[in-house]
Amino acid sequence: MTTSPQRRRDAAGLVIALILLALAGLVWWDMTKLQILSPYDLGPKVMPIVVSVGLTLLAIGNGIGALRGDLPPRDSLDWKPIILILGGLAALIVLIAIGGGFMIGTAILFATTSAAFGRRAFLTDLLIGAVIAVFIYLLFGKLLTLSLPAGPLERLF
C-alpha cells in the first residue's frame, strides 16, 4: 500500500493501447491493397491513412495514460451475468444459423438475461420469452411484413 493507486501502471490500459495499435496496422495494411484510379488525388486511400495515423497517435496517448495510471477507477466486476447474457446471444445466433428459427433462441435470450439480472424462475421466463417471440413474429412478420428467420416453429403460424 505504499504506492498511491492513482499512480499505478494499468495493465488493462496498456492492452487497450496495443489493440489500438493493432487496429492502426490493420487499416494501414488494408489501405496498401487499394488502387488509385484518379491521377490527381489519393482517392480511397486518404481516409484510411488519416484513421491509421490517428489511431497510432491515440494508441501512444492511451499508452502514456496507462503508464501514468490516469484511467478512472473501476468497480469490481461480476462475470456471471455477462456470461449469461452473451450465452443467450450465442444460443440465438447458433439457432438462427442452423435454421432453427428465431423463436426458441429469443425465448432462451429472454430467460438468460432475466437470470443475469437476478431472477430465479428460468422456466417461467422461458415461457414469457416464447410468448413475446410469438407476439413479435405476428407484429413484425405479419403486420409490418418484415422477414424474420423462420424455423420449424415459425412455419406453424
Binding site: 488494408d30 488525388d41 489511431l55 478512472p72 440465438l92 429472454f110 443475469a116 439480472f117 437476478g118 421466463d125
Partner: protein
Amino acid sequence: MEAFTSLASGLAVAIQPMNLLFALIGVLLGTAVGVLPGIGPALTVALLLPITFKLDPAGSIIMFAGIYYGGMYGGSTTAILINTPGESASMATALEGNLMAKAGRGGPALATSAIGSFVAGTIATLGLTLLAPYLVEIAVSFGPEDYFALMCVAFVTVSATFGDSPVRGLTSLFIGLLLGLVGIDILSGQSRLSFGIPELYDNIEVTTLAVGLFAVGEALYVASRRHIHEEKLEPVRGSLWMTKEDWKRSWKPWLRGTLYGFPIGALPAGGAEIPTFLSYATEKRLTKYPEDFGRGAIEGVAGPEAANNASAAGTLVPLLTLGLPTSATAAMMLAGFQQYGLNPGPLLFAEQPALVWGLIASLFIANAMLLVLNLPLVGLWVKLLAIPQPWLYAGILVFATMGTIAANPSPVELVMLTVFGVLGFLMRRFDFPIAPVVVGLILGPIAESQLRRALSISLGDPMVLLQSPISATLLGIAVIALILPFFLKGLGRFKAVED
C-alpha cells in the same frame, strides 16, 4: 416573414390526421423510454429504423422528433423520482429534483419541469423556425471543403472538447471513423476492411452499431455491477400543482435555461449536459433562497429542465440545415432521413419544403401534446418504473436482436451486434464516451466524400482547405477546440455521456 409563411404551410402538413397520430406515438414512446432507465431516445430511434422502413417518410421522421422531445420530458421524471437519470441530460435535474421528492415536493418538481420544458421547447422551436432559413442561405454557398471543415469542427467538439479526457473521446471517434471505412467505397468501387465477408461489403449498419452499443452494452454493464448499485423509487406525495410561490421562483430560471440551452444545442458542441449544468450553476448563484440548494430548490429543477429541452431543439438546427448531427440521437435521426434517401441540408429545404416545415410545425404540436401527457398522466408514467428490472432488460435485448435481424436477416449481423455490445460494455467500463463512435460512423463517410470532392476539384492540392476563408476559419476553430481541453481541465466537468 418568410419563415412564418413556410411554417404555416408546414402546419397544414403536420395537422393531417396520420401525421398527428405519428407525433402522438412518438411522444408517447419517447416519454416511456425517457422514463425507463436503460433505454434512451437514440436507442429507440435505432430500434424503430428497420420497422419504419416501409412507412411514409414524413410520418416516421415526425415520430422520431417526437421521441427526441418526449425522451427529454420523460428523463426528468426518472431523475426526480429515483436518483438515476433516465438519460444524461437530466443529471443536473436529479440533483435538486430528487431532494424535492424526498422532502415531499415531488409533485411541484415534476410540474415545474414539465411546464419549463414546454416553455423552453416552444421558444427554442420558434428559434429554430427563425434561424433555419438564414442558415440555409449561408449553407448554400458552402463548397465541399467548407463542409469538410465544418465536420472537423463537429468531430472535435463532440469527442474531445467537452469530455472527461480528450484522448479517450478522440479514441471513441476514431473507432467510429474506422467502422465507417468498412465496406465498398462508392467512388472507386473497391472494398475496404471487408475481409471477404459479404455482410461487410454493404458497410456497417448504423442501427446495428447503435443498438449494440446502447442496448447490449448497457445491459452487460448494468448486469455486471448490479451487486453494487441499487435504486429506490421515491413516491409522489402531496399536491401535484405548483403554488404561486413556485411559479414566481420558476419563470426566470425557465427563460434563463432556454437562453443557455438553445444556442449551445445549436452549436456543434454535443449533448445537453453543458447547458443543463451551466443553468444549474447560474440558478444556484442567482437564487434568493441559497439555503434551499442542497435541500430541494425549485430553481435547480426549473432551469436545467428548460435548458435540456431547449438544447434538443437547438440540436435540430445544425441537423436540418447542415446535415450535421451533434448528439447520438441527432445522429440516429440523420440515419432516419438517410434510409429514405433524404439528405438534411440546404437542398432538403429547397426540394422537400413540405417535409421539413411539416416536421418543424409538428414539433410545436408535439410539445403541446407532451405538456398535456405529462402533467395529468404523471402517475401513469411512474407505473412504468415498476416493471421488474430483469424483464425490462430481457425485453430490451429481445427487441434489440429482433430489430437487427428484421433489418438484415443474417446471423452475421447478430454476431456484429454482440461484438458491438461487448465494445459498448468495455467502453462504459473504461469510461470512453459512446456518442462519438456513432457520430464517427455516420459522419465519417460523408466527411470523406466531401474531402475527396474538394481534392478532386483542386486537382489534388490540399491547400484548397486553407484557401477558402470559411474552411480556413472552421479548421482554425477545430484546432483550437482540439488543443484547448489539454490546457483547461475544467471543461471535463461537462461529461458527455448519452444513451
